[in-house]
């Protein structure tokens, strides 16, 4: 006799029905105060609760991020500090590749596998505007990245 046998044996038995008097007593008690029947149903869909929590989290993240001052824009070797004041609005941030130099195939010292080395030269442009007088501020940050690509000889 395993667990399934026990469970099926138990569930094969139906609980006894309560007395008819019980239903009448419940009916009588519910009729004493019918405010429940008049109350508008404020049923919240099941999916709404997680959505509300996630939107609350997103809103909190936006508040925290906007509260932090944007002290530094850019990064890497050519970091540029630009203190954004309340009057200056960021307009755009564009990064364009200026040059790509192929430095040939080299063999990795550790793995002894061939790798293609490419040097990418790019320029990042940050632009701000002052809506009070229409002034534009542009900062250009040059970047030079070394890219290593795996090579397979077939």
């Amino acid at each position: 006799m395993n667990d399934n046998d026990i469970e099926s044996l138990l569930t094969s038995l139906s609980p006894a029905r309560p007395s008819a008097l019980l239903s009448q007593r419940v009916d009588h008690e519910l009729e004493l105060d019918l405010s429940w029947a008049r109350a508008p149903k404020k049923k919240t869909p099941r999916w709404l609760s997680p959505v509300m929590w996630s939107s609350l989290g997103a809103a909190a993240a936006v508040v925290i991020m906007s509260a932090q001052p944007m002290a530094q824009v850019g990064g890497g070797t050519g970091s540029v500090a630009f203190q954004e004041t309340a009057s200056v609005m960021p307009m755009s941030t564009i990064r364009e590749v200026v040059d790509a130099r192929d430095e040939g195939i080299q063999y990795n010292e550790l793995s002894r596998l061939p790798e293609q080395h490419v040097k990418l030269v790019s320029l990042e442009r940050h632009a701000w505007t002052d809506p009070r007088n229409g002034a534009h501020f542009t900062v250009e940050v040059p970047y030079e990245d070394s890219v290593v690509l795996p090579v397979s000889f077939q």
């Binding site: 026990i6 044996l9 138990l10 038995l13 609980p15 006894a16 008097l21 019980l22 239903s23 049923k43």
Partner: protein
Amino acid sequence: MADATFNWKQCFDQISPNLVLYARQLTPSAADAEDVVQMAFVRWWRRFPDGDTENVPLLYAAVRTIALDQRRSDTRRVKRESASEIALSHENAPIFDPALETKEAAVIVTQSLAILPEEQREVVTLKLWGGLTFQEIATALGISINTAAGRYRYALNTLQKHLAPMKDDLLGEPNHPPKNLLNFNMTKEAFL
């Protein structure tokens, strides 16, 4: 209004046998169990008049709270019993539907459930007849999900040991129907 009345009756008809069965695990008599179910259901329905099944675990939790409160107030019970003869008349009413083909099994299972500790009996009742998940049972009883699952497991082990000697009577073999079922068939054939 008629629609609302119909709704609660439909819901009550469906769920009340399971509620009373659960309440009987916590109360000394059928009358006490029905009192508890009445109070719990009325409170629950006033709070959730749409009868959403999502809130059914709360109903079982209400049954439990009221049953435990009622157990503490012995004076109330004594007073009610002296006032009502109906209460005394079904003090020992069967907890399962006494259908002919399952009557014997119902008696054996009732006795077997009685040997379980109350906390295990509660979990078994909520799981098998209440149809609650372990998560819902844990919430209703204020215990961890692991504790709920552990109690269920212990209860099944105990029931297994207790019911194993009566296996043939309860389950019946493929070639040997249960004794009560055999008697029923013979009676039937005699009439044909």
